[in-house]
Symmetry: D2
Subunit: 307 residues, 4 copies
Amino acid sequence: MDYQKILIEIEEEIRPLLGEGKVADYIPALAQVDAKQFAISITLNDGTHYSAGLADKLFSIQSISKVFTFTMALKIYRDTLYERLGVEPSGSAFNSIVQLEYEQGKPRNPFINAGAINITDALINFYGDREKTFAAIISYIRELTDDSSIKSNKIIADSEMQNGFRNLSLANIMKSFNNLDNSVDEVVKTYFEHCSIEMNTKALSRAMLYLAHDGTDPINNKEYITQSQSKRINALMLTCGHYDASGEFAFNVGLPGKSGVGGGIVATVPNLMGIAVYSPALNANGNSLVGTKALELFTTKTGLSIF
Amino acid sequence: MDYQKILIEIEEEIRPLLGEGKVADYIPALAQVDAKQFAISITLNDGTHYSAGLADKLFSIQSISKVFTFTMALKIYRDTLYERLGVEPSGSAFNSIVQLEYEQGKPRNPFINAGAINITDALINFYGDREKTFAAIISYIRELTDDSSIKSNKIIADSEMQNGFRNLSLANIMKSFNNLDNSVDEVVKTYFEHCSIEMNTKALSRAMLYLAHDGTDPINNKEYITQSQSKRINALMLTCGHYDASGEFAFNVGLPGKSGVGGGIVATVPNLMGIAVYSPALNANGNSLVGTKALELFTTKTGLSIF
Amino acid sequence: MDYQKILIEIEEEIRPLLGEGKVADYIPALAQVDAKQFAISITLNDGTHYSAGLADKLFSIQSISKVFTFTMALKIYRDTLYERLGVEPSGSAFNSIVQLEYEQGKPRNPFINAGAINITDALINFYGDREKTFAAIISYIRELTDDSSIKSNKIIADSEMQNGFRNLSLANIMKSFNNLDNSVDEVVKTYFEHCSIEMNTKALSRAMLYLAHDGTDPINNKEYITQSQSKRINALMLTCGHYDASGEFAFNVGLPGKSGVGGGIVATVPNLMGIAVYSPALNANGNSLVGTKALELFTTKTGLSIF
Amino acid sequence: MDYQKILIEIEEEIRPLLGEGKVADYIPALAQVDAKQFAISITLNDGTHYSAGLADKLFSIQSISKVFTFTMALKIYRDTLYERLGVEPSGSAFNSIVQLEYEQGKPRNPFINAGAINITDALINFYGDREKTFAAIISYIRELTDDSSIKSNKIIADSEMQNGFRNLSLANIMKSFNNLDNSVDEVVKTYFEHCSIEMNTKALSRAMLYLAHDGTDPINNKEYITQSQSKRINALMLTCGHYDASGEFAFNVGLPGKSGVGGGIVATVPNLMGIAVYSPALNANGNSLVGTKALELFTTKTGLSIF
């Protein structure tokens, strides 16, 4: 298949949509991003890259970081991780607090905020403190992408922390149910720090390869997680990767994926490739409007939906 | 692949598990079923059947009927159907009433009870009354399976109705929000009537082919729904097909599927086959314990998981 | 104190407010009532009556009937009644279904709909069937008021039943938790039948005397309930008598009271008198707008608030 | 009435109950309190004191402080205070977070934790910072009691803060809905500081007089709040003063009151006296077990229930 041609077609076809949607504006650093940017990259399991658009443009990966931290925690704790949190979809946003309360501080899955905060807490338990934990996360992502320049944006992380009342509330509920071991502040700061990591679509599509290849990176041949754990993460991305639009995404795109409020989305085509798109304006569900459309065009043009 | 050999292997391997779990006992007619029964059938897109176990044994399809009624409603109403209900996962069982109340009588998806009851109401609107609606449903299933003997079990349907307080409650909530057009009694009776249809795994695996073949039955060549609608239903089965164990099923089995409390589960391997399993004892989440295990063995042995 | 003068003053002072608010319109029979009607009556413990306005005008007592049915059930079951339901306030209307679900079908108190439906069920258990239960209720009210002409309005009761989806939903939730013994239909019909009893303010103020006199009617000298039970009912009227405006009413009026959506409100001044007001236009909380104001004027002018 | 005799009788009669119930143990400083202590004091509107038991024993007033802070805020903001919070009862504890979320960060009333935290925030707005706010609160209480030795226990306040995850969660939810102006930490610290004020029953019964006397202290003749505001606070104490046992307390005791988890309860007999009891072991609802019983005996013996 001529992937390069397909990516360029997609770039053409989404152009009229650029400008629709709304850039995340809950913190100033994200609000000032140019809404009309677009990038799409794929990396095949043999390492071949294809891109269209601003594939070198760095952006805040936000919730995409949850895929990396969940991978790390699953490797460390294996199934004992599920004493802390579940793997089921969670329903509406209203629900996030209600259900956390009803289910006594146990988050539904690692891709909702409460779950990802809980995963961060588990990582701090293992690595010892906030600095070492973040160092391990960034080191893991750098290794996956073979790019030692990747780092977190301190301005964004600080700004998130200053406005992170909802996440602080979730962390405190978990703490009150004894389902958070470290200090709320330390955990939530670390969480925002990894959310504020900046990457481009080229690196992100590369980083997804271990999930497109049963847990083992097909380039560096390192087994990060088992085949079964990789299947688990792909299944979770499909059922829970897009907040309250996960069902919509499963239908429209038909690939395991994870979106971030910074405008990025990653996806995998099992056994074939990693994908990343970027466009900062979001649809009503908080997922990249043009990014979702681009992925939809990609599976339509290539027939690579898993359904 | 030697499917017959694989099915027989599976039958052997699940044997030690027969007897674990618990048959649904909320109505007498289901409670008295022999817990140790097992059947598995697949039907390939070319019509070839393979089975192991009691593949001719009739059982109550229960929630599997939701796949058929949603198909019919989607064909009739297309996207206007989503004015009535959503397509997103729904969280915990506790949630089913809370969320219906919070979201003003609009069910989260067609595979939770409230959603399926709502779909039944939409079908009654179209077909005119309860009798005509049920006639259309049974006629559709008979056509799909080329088996005119399929019918509903009146004893079970009546017994469900006499114990259906929770479903009556859901229907009344929808009615109070003007999201149910016909009488609560008429709708819920029709709903229980289609839940009480009895089929065997052979017929059920056959009936799934249109969903394994982009909406068009590969045997009778009839287009029941569009390719896009078929993708929608498969995506929904993956994200919402197993109540509060949908994420677990997506991981363990890795196929779009729908379970029923009678002990049956249907699944599709896109572009390849329909599958049905039966074993009445249920796990803690209300899905067939041995049936789930059998499907897990099937995707492990065949490598046919979509992930 | 010159009560007659005070009542006439009140009638004058509320006149400019007549026409504000909104008559209940969820059923036609209530919607067509003239919004500008007003009546106020008091009956002292010695039997003296004072009235102003349309004190002979019959209206639908609606939720005021809950005071009578709770009295009857408390007399019969004493403290075992609290195995069925609680005595605590319940929060918002949204809550009524959520909390019933969370608290496994046990209503918070006898003055929310779920609680009153549950009480009706308990009465049917005692009296044997729907007809005998209603006969006992109407007979009790006739005895309290010495007025054998009091009856229920069948048109209103039937109309309520045809639109009673929310109440049917609550009854079905309780039934699903085994906290309702008789058929949902029978219980809810009986409930609507006693809600549709028609009385005037004169009779209602008379009927409250047993609650203003420690459980014993000061006119006919009959002990209906014990002093302690009477205190319980007065306390409940104060904390739970006005749905989500009970706190507001306790402050503004400062008397134990119970309102009905038909526009009536009853209240007691402990050891002194029963009061009833009527004006069908309701405020945002579903309580008689002018009726509430009239009671507020009454306690201001007489200084009879319990605070 | 011979109040002294009555108090001594009460002390005798509750003696067998000492030791029942359970001292609050969520922080060490409270857990080590001797469970068998008891005190009761009343102060009449003319200033006469009567006490029995350990009336000079200091204890942590905890939620009783909410009465004082609400008084201060009501004086400052009058009815604009209700833009921040309501005056209605709130249902179950489960509910406290659910309802705060459902009602978009607006607490139901000033006596649940969320409401009292919100009131503290309003006071900080007025007084400028945490120190000045606490100074104003302690100064107000010292003036009411004419006792300049009253102070907060820093060990308890610090310990509460270290375990205050649930309150921090509530504050963060309010903050996320823009219904908290100051920093969560500053507000919650101030809140715990006033909860940790230590008083004895003698001083507390004295401090209630302004609420037993229409807002004006009958001893120092100072008008703290208007008659109407005083009625409001009394009504709130009656409907919301005892968490999820407010209805029970209204019935058993029949006086406006407010309990604290430290084992104290204050109450007023309108126009007559302030009351305070102390006994640290709590009943299942978190109110002083013996204290509640003592108040019940008091209203039974004196006939001073408001019902």
